[in-house]
Symmetry: C2
Subunit: 406 residues, 2 copies
């Protein structure tokens, strides 16, 4: 009898962004003449930068000759990229190239990493939250039954709302695995080094592991905001970090990211001994993954070159300028807004249910955003917009928003 | 307390091919002047064909312009590729484009697909077997403790040896999930349509699911050998199929494959209702995967064009010619050999323990193969070599083998 994994039945029927895509497609089919502006799913819009294109072209040419052809690469990523990452992104933080695991993106890594832990581990996530953290754990049996609000009975929630300045408080119940994402998706807020240290100290004290998603670190502009959790003392004992080239360098369609798994981070085996997560993740990746394409890894390497960095930074500046425009526009409408300063996301408190606001914006303005409720019940009265549009589309979306007279 | 997934402790300490890579690296370091010929891991050696290179270059150019840029694609793959697959690889077999899920390779798909099933499902695998099927299930808790022979107590083994003509017999104990790979890795043997029908009928009768890995179907040259399990009546109710461009078109370093999940294949929910695996896999992929790179999907599409097919078929013919050379050489040495006719793999019975044979070949001849024991205890006296070398290297390897006077 092929019994299914019944945990899947606890999930919402579709992944948030698939649901949005379906609703937008239905609207577009009914309104073929309306120009829809998508500031929802968080996809970038600017083309790949010249250094990346050049690296891709060169790598494709290599693949066309017997001498240059590359077949299976190391599942962990090529040394040239792992070393470039350490040198460029983790200087002085004590991270080694063999602690970097290149992948086809942070979504896969944050979704898969929980496999290394026992089903009985207790998971803490913020509310609102990037849905993958919750859904991957629900699939693995750590969620339990859903309640009416969209939460799962088996998980610990850390509310992040205007009331606590969007800074999660330490939970009463003790979690084993803690997901943190800063700069935050969806709120666009950040943690200072001291605020992050509270969590590192907590994890050390309680033998918990922090899954730190820093996919948006390249948007940080203010000083004192850590780009990596390893800037906090002690994090190398309790934290793994996930990064992505998606937003940094426009790789959403090219697919590359990486997990940082220090050899000093361990979990507990049934006999009480400690097992390095680096060893377990290496076993997982070599067994169930076959490496990121060579040509994509060469493209990622180019992002770390001096010229590449200059080019991708200019693109990021453009997205940040869009985010500020959106933030300012909402503020002028008298709405409460966070994010948009060190992050591409703008998180605005809306005067109605967030799915109603989604429908209103889509139908009346042809603008697609993401309803806060999709990220958890604490997002019910919030809405997320992104700075990832083109400057022209962003300005037009703002004009359309203004005309709604919210 | 961050308890690890203790099932990992049941695994061998390293993945087979990682282990081989490590042993070869150690040998190479000690013998820097010896030219090592690698006929082990099953990696291809010929460059990507011109149609694929052209498609990659065009797609890279698209990504360099705002108008042509593609960000996040559908997690299931672009329609252009899904439709090309249906038209070219499944004509008349009743498979729809929405039953094709494009991925970054069959290794990931066969590793991940078991997630859709309950931990209590009983798994049957052949022995010898591609290690991913076993290891992925061990990680998920379906393996149980390893015994001394390299088998796991919780799994059902289907021995394939010279005694049964390398055709697995129906098991006494009833499995829920059955992994079959034809043309077979590692033995290079095939099943006729009638032999495969036995398994489809068995799965239908026993409410089991067949995971059919047809990654090597492009090597089939003899008539009457099914390229797809859907050539067998009833398979659309009980089988999912995994395919890859790795061997078909040299994509081992480019990464693309796909799973075929007919909507008619279902598993059982706890309440006795049936759930379509297509729905579950869609949920899994949209949640934990972010799609295969656009440029790679364009490359895969080119493989299905008339010119692309002509080019990749010529490469495959070359590999098959190598396989036949190896097979003939072993036969002339008086050894028993199978495979090499409808598959790139040659499976030879060796006169000693297979790891000893591995060491002998590496040290005395500088030729890397794969010890049969690495695929399971029934492979203990066998050795796998592949036709994926260059013709020159293959000839040289054969000369060196001859000189060993086995």
């Amino acid at each position: 009898m092929a019994d299914i994994n019944a945990n899947y039945l606890n999930l919402r029927s579709s992944y948030l962004f698939s649901e949005i895509a379906a609703r937008v497609a239905a609207h577009a089919a009914k309104n073929p003449d309306q120009k829809i502006i998508r500031l929802g799913i968080g996809d970038v819009t600017q083309p790949l930068v010249p250094s990346v294109i050049k690296a891709l072209q060169d790598a494709v040419n290599e693949q066309s000759t017997a001498a240059g052809f590359k077949g299976y690469g190391p599942e962990q990523g090529y040394d040239f990229l792992r070393e470039a990452i350490v040198k460029d992104s983790y200087p002085g933080l004590g991270i080694g190239a063999d602690e970097i695991f290149v992948s086809d993106g942070a979504k896969c890594d944050v979704g898969n990493f929980q496999e290394l832990f026992a089903t009985g581990c207790k998971v803490a996530i913020t509310d609102p939250v990037y849905p993958v953290y919750a859904d991957a754990n629900v699939m693995a049996g750590r969620g339990g039954a859903p309640d009416g609000s969209g939460r799962f009975a088996g998980m610990i929630y850390l509310p992040c709302t205007a009331e606590n300045g969007f800074v999660p408080e330490l939970p009463k119940e003790k979690p084993d695995l803690i997901y943190l994402c800063y700069p935050n998706n969806p709120t666009g807020t950040v943690l200072t080094r001291d605020q992050l240290k509270v969590w590192v100290d907590y994890a050390r004290k309680n033998d918990a592991i922090i899954f730190y998603d820093s996919a948006y670190e390249c948007f940080i502009r203010e000083p004192g905001i850590p780009h990596s959790i390893y800037e906090v003392d002690g994090a190398r004992e309790v934290a793994v970090e996930f990064r992505s080239y998606s937003k940094t360098a426009g790789f959403t369609g090219l697919r590359c990211g990486y997990a940082v798994v220090p050899k000093t981070v361990t979990g507990k085996a049934p006999d009480g001994s400690r097992v390095a997560l680096n060893t377990l993740w290496n076993r997982r990746q070599t067994t169930k993954y076959n490496g990121c394409p060579y040509i994509v890894q060469r493209a990622a390497e180019a992002v770390h070159s001096a010229q590449g960095k200059k080019e991708v930074t200019a693109v990021v500046e453009g997205y940040l300028a869009n985010s500020k425009l959106i933030k300012n526009a909402f503020e002028k409408m008298g709405l409460t807004v966070v994010g948009g300063t060190n992050a591409p996301y703008v998180w605005v408190k809306v005067p109605m249910n967030s799915w109603d606001f989604f429908t209103l914006l889509l139908e009346k303005a042809g603008v697609v955003g993401t309803p806060g409720a999709g990220f958890g019940p604490s997002g019910q009265e919030y809405f997320r917009l992104t700075g990832f549009g083109s400057p022209e589309n962003t300005r037009e979306a703002i004009e359309r928003l203004r005309s709604l007279k919210l």
